[in-house]
Amino acid sequence: MKRLLSGNEAFARGSWEAGVTVASGYPGTPSTEITETFAKFPGVYAEWAPNEKVALDTAIGAAYAGQRAFCTMKHVGLNVAADALFAAAMTGVEGGLVIVSADDPGMHSSQNEQDNRQYARFARIPCLDPADSQEAHDFALVAYNISEQFDTPVLFRMTTRVCHTTSPVEVNEQRLQPRPTIKFPRNPPKYVMMPANARKRHVIIETRIQELAQFAEAFSGNQVEMRSRELGIITGGIAYQYAREVFPDASVLKLGMVYPLPVKLIRRFAEQVEKLIVLEELDPFIEDQVRLMGIELYKPLDAAISYPNTKTIFPVTGELNPAIVRLSAEKANLLPPASQKASMSQTALDLPARPPVLCPGCPHRGTFYVLHKLGLPINGDIGCYTLGITPPLNAIDTCGCMGEGIGVAHGAAIAGDQERHIAVIGDSTFFHTGIPALMNVAYNKSNVITIIMDNRVTGMTGHQENPGTGRTLQQKETTEVNIEQLVRALGIEKVRTVEAYDVDTIEKTLKEWLKTEEPAVLITQEECALLPSARQRWMPLAVTDKCNGCTVCFRIGCPAILKSDELDPKYNRPLAKIDPLLCTGCEICAQVCPRDAILFRNQIKPIAQEPVFSE
């Protein structure tokens, strides 16, 4: 019987059926649910590693030891793990090794939309690109076989719309027997990549990729679907769905393996159709290779290829959808101009936006309120706390990739920037790549002040465990990293841990440290307000009639603080009110209120019995 699975769940299921026993990953949208799903199957080991490189090295080690293994990450994670990727490409493996890169065309939750199919070509390894959940499942089973048959890691490239689309999947009830444990290989020519060995391996991997190109000719995931011969479309991954939707009558060569390509199959297909086009999301990855084969692609009359963007017809940026594909095809005279245009109503564009904001009760809020007041340059990082950029806090000045904040602050400081730099970084990000950067601050002595915002969880990606939480992905108790001790061990002497809700202490500590020139680290600690244990403490606060609408509490940017319809009689300003359904009772607003008009938690119960406040 078919069941509904997301692409992520389907890949996890397929891997389990393939007898995989080890998975390691680092969370990142849209990949996160793969390892989370896999962790719940019987007879498997699954973990969150501190970063993608460690995760990949772990999966490589398991594969060297003869087990089938996979490693998951979002697309930018493969940049972090690239060194390990190229190493494994050189050595090959014993047990099947699959590396999942979940790309994010359209940047729904990412800082770029790099096309990681390019990594396959770069590292000379095969790349599979499933088009839906069924294929994510079926290709998973095939991927481990390819890995073992050709002695190569396999890049499993997925995209947001495949990862996060649910569709019916036929699964196998039986799991393949996991591979037997072997004696760890003692094979230096293959596994010790010193130059003399590596030179020989390079020749081997170039031969391997040739053989894989031969394999691609007969690979069942590469399919020709002949319909009308007027138009032929070469496509792969999610773009296949748009090809079928927009050009129902066209012939299609659907590539399940997008690297290396089956040259003969493509040539035969090209000969059978009048016009040949390539439909793919992001880079002209297939398109460029087809042109290199000397195969002619259809060119609309006035479209010159404008190097270095060699993509024709379809856009090189952003996520595709049927509407964009249709519009591009119309412009290229592949389809007649549409009779029925989308009913874009102009008015819809002026509506108030609903951007993500720090939750009510978020432990990051108080720190950003203080940082906003200090007005110093703030080198941020990636996590919930990046939302410190949103008005009215406006307290992030740089943010590009995970772990960069401390290094960027250090660089600016040693370049002689006149202002003191403050780096802010989350706990998970600190473990990910912040530690070496902070070591550099201590070792090479700059005056950077680092704030580690320890909300006891990897928040942004949906609350995953990390080395600071004392629990593993499979819910085992474990040693908890003591961040303060770790920071001291790195050579930082000025270290202080404070409660993240204690706005006053945060402000005083920073102001005191600004008088010295030493590097310093402030750890602001408090559970993310959405964690189940934190939810149990939620308790809405209330505004009393002492409020005169001074607006100070609006400046902390809490969604639970509203402007009420009531005006202050003297100043004619709207009074503050608190939405009791949203407020968690973090007391940040109560601390900043200059008139003590917001009651603290311990003031609420006794007074609540005699109704005094205006709410």
Partner: protein, 205 residues
């Protein structure tokens, strides 16, 4: 009150765009619709964007039923039904509705930060109605939250809306009940089935 024939998913492909605000149960409703499609023997695709764990952002789920469904995304102008859990989001995604499609809207507003901070104004009911009128005359309002409150559990508002949605389609109510039961924990099944029934009657009155 309904001046169009009931939608029969066995005879025509159906595209439903569900929109709401984080925490309203939009995705759960979409999951139920996906299971329902599978139960009816249809091909199904359900697509949404995860990742921003913060509360308060817009939530969109694309749900498609058909003999064979290709694209997971419903392009602008091609949704047969816009099921909105919040008014502003209904207006925001009105361009996804096909001309003459059905808008079924929870008569409930949640202020975004920009509004609660007093930077911009929340559009009034007439403005929202006007934006939707641009696209279709088939606009149905239902006060899901109020109905759910009267039933004694505000968290069933999403199922009230599913009940209302069911009254626009030919699908047998027992099929709905089966998938709703399968998706919820035993404790809350009874109240949710009641919410479904109440919602199912709501548009008829």
């Amino acid at each position: 009150m309904m001046n169009f024939p009931l939608i029969n998913p066995l005879k025509q492909p159906v595209n439903i765009l569900l929109v709401g605000v984080g925490g309203q149960g939009t995705i759960l409703a979409s999951n139920i619709l996906a299971e329902l499609g599978l139960r009816l023997g249809l091909d199904v695709k359900q697509a949404e964007i995860h990742g921003m764990s913060q509360r308060g952002g817009s939530v969109v789920s694309h749900l498609r039923w058909g003999e064979k469904v290709f694209s997971p995304i419903i392009p602008p102008g091609e949704a047969d039904i816009l099921l909105a859990f919040e008014k502003l989001e209904a207006a925001r995604f009105s361009d996804h509705l096909r001309p003459g499609g059905i808008a079924l809207i929870n008569d409930h507003s949640i202020n975004p930060m920009t509004v609660s901070a007093g930077l911009v104004e929340y559009p009034d009911h007439a403005q929202i109605q006007g934006i939707l009128n641009h696209v279709t005359g088939h606009i149905y309002w239902i006060n899901g939250l109020k109905i759910a409150e009267e039933l004694g559990n505000t968290r069933t508002a999403n199922v009230v809306l599913l009940g209302a949605l069911s009254s626009l389609m030919t699908i047998d109510p027992t099929d709905w009940a089966t998938v709703i039961q399968a998706r919820l924990s035993a404790k809350v099944i009874e109240i949710n089935l009641k919410a479904f029934q109440t919602g199912r009657q709501a548009l008829r009155n």
